[in-house]
């Protein structure tokens, strides 16, 4: 649990650093701005779709599928899961002057694995998963996918540059 807390703290610091880096290094170009706008739209539609599905499922089944806090967290998670990989894949996540490196990808992927491994370990040891562990799983999946997308994109870009 302590390790997970440390990981979450490091993740929060990383995001803070990313935001600061984006502000310092400048703006996105016009194509990147278009892509980001499109990504926001897709994320919004995905969130609305999720909320609509949950709402109708609860209405029809007359059950409470998710608490309001869980639904809000899941909405944010899903929106970020749509936004981040899409903008990374379209070369729009990082502003123009930010030098891309694979270290960010390795950081996110590594943190994602660090989040998932304790939960997996707990599950195999006790066949039980706590509520908090479920949040860690979702965070881990998000970080792993984001990190993997950065690494794959950088790899394909390098191959393309070598092919020129």
């Amino acid at each position: 649990m302590f390790l997970a807390t440390v990981v979450v703290f490091v993740v929060a610091l990383s995001f803070g650093f990313l935001i600061l880096m984006n502000k310092v290094e400048g703006e996105r170009d016009e194509r990147q701005t278009q892509v980001v706008d499109r990504a926001y739209k897709y994320a919004f539609v995905t969130i609305m779709f999720l909320n609509a599905v949950v709402y109708f499922w609860e209405k029809v089944g007359n059950i409470q599928l998710l608490s309001s806090e869980d639904l809000a967290a899941l909405s944010i998670w899903l929106g970020t899961l749509v936004f981040a990989p899409y903008t990374i894949w379209q070369h729009a996540y990082f502003p123009v002057k930010v030098k891309k490196s694979s270290s960010m990808g390795w950081l996110f992927a590594g943190l994602g694995l660090l989040e998932l491994l304790p939960v997996t370990w707990d599950y195999f040891e006790s066949s039980k998963v706590d509520q908090q562990d479920i949040y860690l799983v979702f965070l881990g999946i998000l970080l792993l996918i984001t990190g993997s997308t950065i690494l794959l994109r950088n790899y394909l870009d390098r191959k393309e540059d070598e092919g020129r």
Partner: protein, 63 residues
């Protein structure tokens, strides 16, 4: 539709996509997208690119 004129004009100036992108203030992928025909630039970007390559808008972006 691919913009082969842009590619040719850039090659004529011996500029890489990255070099041209740096000069006009966009990312390399944006120049690549314009050349592939995946992105239609705004008029301001068109003008910036033409200035860097010493050509007119007609030469690069009009049929």
């Amino acid at each position: 539709m691919k913009n082969l004129k842009l590619k040719a004009a850039r090659a004529g100036k011996d500029l890489s996509q990255q070099a041209l992108a740096d000069r006009v203030g966009v990312s390399r992928q944006t120049i690549s997208a314009i050349e592939k025909g995946d992105y239609n630039p705004t008029i301001n970007l068109c003008i910036s690119i033409c200035k860097e390559l010493d050509v007119t808008l007609n030469d690069l972006f009009w049929k």
